[in-house]
């Protein structure tokens, strides 16, 4: 007959205990988090998957008939043949999210170095200025751009004077206005995590690079980028993922012609009352986002420090 090996006794944060006991307690402590994830992530996700493979009734109600029709429609197949419209919208959303992220990163670096270079006392004032727009509703912030881009304001006047737009016309709706709105919303998502990395930067690496004849570009890629990679990664993911699904900004600043996947989904769940198709588009968005992150992780691995 085999006897169980005695559980080893160990000291854990000043407490005499056993491994088995710790495991049991750890499970208990994990429970709330697991429940939260189940309730708010796994369950809704499963519901979304389910809804995406059933049929829309004549009045928008859900009919429990399994079908792949929604995905066929997303891929562009309909009664009238194949169009790339929906795929174009998905692609355009990815491009908008990518460009928004890129511009936010490009603006965040100088901003972070500027703030980190301020004296300790005023540094938090500058950070607060970055955070304040955070506290304002996204819709209100987007409407603020209407005001700024309206025909009477200097920017639109300058554009009209230069012949970019017609005299007395506003600077919206167009792609430029969408990017402006998007970047202004997502900038803090990159700036704040990036700042945390920039503030802790080991400047001796920068000096070592300069001492070893590095050009400004390679000072950045060899001494600054690897050190700020952790903050940058967080910022990129925090921006790219929500930027893929945003719909308020393109709706207001882009006009009807500048449809992004966020608007499309909102339309299906809202006015069109086509939940199954909306769910299918959501799945498409999710897959595209995960793909984007995967590509980024793959490419970023070369740069990240061990």
């Amino acid at each position: 007959m085999k006897t169980k090996p005695p559980d080893s006794i160990l000291i854990w944060f000043g407490e005499l205990t056993t491994r088995r006991h710790l495991l049991k307690r750890g499970m208990l402590l994990l429970m709330p988090g697991m429940l939260w994830l189940m309730l708010f992530l796994v369950l809704p996700g499963l519901v979304l998957v389910l809804v995406s493979v059933i049929t829309r009734g004549a009045y928008g109600q859900l009919e429990w008939v399994l079908t792949l029709e929604n995905y066929r429609r997303l891929a562009g197949f309909s009664l009238f043949g194949w169009t790339a419209d929906y795929l174009m919208i998905l692609w355009r959303s990815a491009v908008v999210a990518f460009v928004t992220t890129l511009v936010s990163v490009l603006l965040s670096y100088p901003l972070c170095f500027f703030i980190a270079g301020r004296p300790q006392r005023t540094r938090y004032l500058w950070l607060t200025l970055v955070i304040i727009p955070f506290w304002t509703n996204m819709v209100i912030r987007t409407y603020a751009w209407f005001l700024i881009l309206s025909p009477q304001m200097p920017i639109a006047r300058l554009a009209a004077y230069l012949g970019i737009i017609a005299q007395g016309a506003p600077l919206y709706p167009n792609a430029f206005a969408v990017y402006l709105g998007m970047v202004s919303i997502f900038l803090p998502f990159v700036t704040l995590p990036l700042y945390a990395s920039v503030e802790r930067l080991d400047w001796s690496l920068v000096e070592a690079a300069k001492d070893l004849y590095a050009s400004p570009v390679s000072v950045f890629t060899q001494a600054i980028l690897p050190q700020t990679m952790p903050g940058l990664s967080v910022g990129i993911i925090l921006t790219f993922v929500p930027a893929m699904g945003v719909f308020v900004v393109p709706d207001l600043l882009g006009g009807a012609k500048y449809m992004l996947v966020g608007n499309l989904i909102q339309q299906q769940f809202g006015p069109s009352r086509d939940w199954p198709f909306g769910a299918a588009i959501s799945m498409g968005l999710m897959v595209l986002t995960l793909l984007g992150i995967m590509v980024y992780r793959r490419r970023g691995k070369d740069l990240e420090t061990v």
């Binding site: 080991d202 001796s204 690496l205 070592a208 690079a209 300069k210 001492d211 004849y213 690897p226 061990v306």
Partner: protein
């Protein structure tokens, strides 16, 4: 390489490193105050001083990582005062080593050559040669975090030396090493410099390090060079009490000038040369004080041993009247309570020229 202290400075300026009246302010603090120095080619020169004396700032000005507010810097006869670091043929071993964590040891060492677009074959040859020289060949593929402190230090050294700089700057390179390793690295560094014949400038607050490695030492205090010379010169003839006490131990004796010598708390002491001041101080190293049972002919002091400290290579005696520290060899133990005669012979007493009351 033996360096002649009395060499004409203008001649030296043509080849070595020449600092002329360099000053630097940080906000309202004057960290460097009119520093002039001359480092000759092939010399191992040390900037020695306590923290905050400006030695690191001076090094950074030579490296081009900091710009002087006033004064000029010449290297090999060319003015480099306003040149940025990237344009100076000077390389630095940083105190924290500052190795690039995402690069391998090989890539770290190759960094400077790659930045200057050397041909790949040449880079490989030079890097491998340096790695071999510093016993790092087996580490080439590792990353900095996999190395010990001593190994990291050697990588930092290899990374700087591979560029064959006119001047190698070392910013407290041994401060992160433990005492035993430090002693070994000091010897290694000295040998390396003698072997390469390159100009090294070392910044340190460790007087032992300065003595072991250097051809010449500049002792700094509050942004100024208070004394500059070979380790022997500075140790044997300190100009003031700061230098006397910063390099080794010294007994300082406040003194007033009288004909033929000085008047002190121990009575009259004869001197070899007349002090330049009326009241000031003389100094004598503990190991320069003679000890015996008979009264010496001059400068004898009758004293009683109060305390004895064993230090391995010698005994330190604290005697009264005093406080005076006397050093005897380790086979000469004198128990506390005994009365002895001390001899502070005139040739051993140093007049601290710049120490006036």
């Amino acid at each position: 390489m033996v360096v002649d202290m009395n060499q004409n400075p203008n001649q030296a300026a043509d080849k070595g490193l020449d600092l002329r009246h360099v000053s630097k302010m940080f906000e309202t603090v004057k960290v460097l105050d009119d520093v002039s120095l001359n480092v000759m080619p092939g010399e191992f020169f040390t900037l020695l001083g306590p923290s905050g004396c400006g030695k690191t700032t001076l090094l950074r000005i030579i490296a081009g990582l900091e710009m002087a507010d006033a004064g000029q810097v010449f290297l090999g006869g060319t003015e480099i005062t306003h040149l940025p670091a990237i344009k100076r043929h000077v390389n630095t071993v940083f105190q924290s080593y500052a190795l690039f964590p995402h690069l391998t040891i090989y890539e770290n060492v190759a960094f400077g050559l790659r930045a200057r677009k050397f041909p790949a074959a040449e880079i490989k040859k030079r890097v491998e040669q340096r790695l071999e020289m510093l016993d790092l060949s087996r580490m080439a593929r590792r990353r900095p975090h996999q190395l010990s402190g001593g190994q990291k230090q050697r990588v930092a050294l290899a990374r700087a030396l591979v560029n064959e700089p006119d001047v190698l700057l070392l910013d407290e390179p041994m401060s992160a090493l433990d005492a035993r390793l430090r002693a070994q690295v000091q010897d290694d560094l000295r040998r390396l410099q003698r072997e390469l014949g390159r100009t090294f400038i070392l910044v340190t607050h460790d007087q032992a390090e300065a003595m072991v490695c250097s051809h010449r030492v500049a002792v700094m205090q509050e942004g100024r060079v208070v004394q500059c010379g070979t380790p022997e010169e500075v140790y044997d003839n300190p100009r003031d009490s700061f230098v006397a006490q910063f390099l080794g131990a010294a007994n300082l004796i406040p003194a007033t000038r009288v004909p033929g010598g000085v008047d002190t708390a121990f009575g009259f002491l004869a001197l070899e040369k007349e002090p330049p001041w009326q009241t000031g101080a003389v100094a004598i190293r503990p190991e320069w004080i003679g000890i015996g049972d008979k009264q010496p002919a001059v400068n004898g002091i009758r004293a009683r041993v109060k305390e004895i400290v064993y230090r391995g290579t010698n005994y330190d005696l604290w005697v009264e009247p005093g406080p005076l520290r006397v050093r005897t060899s380790s086979y000469r133990r004198i128990d506390p309570g005994r009365d002895v005669w001390l001899e502070l012979s005139p040739e051993e007493l140093v007049v601290l020229e710049n120490e006036t009351a």
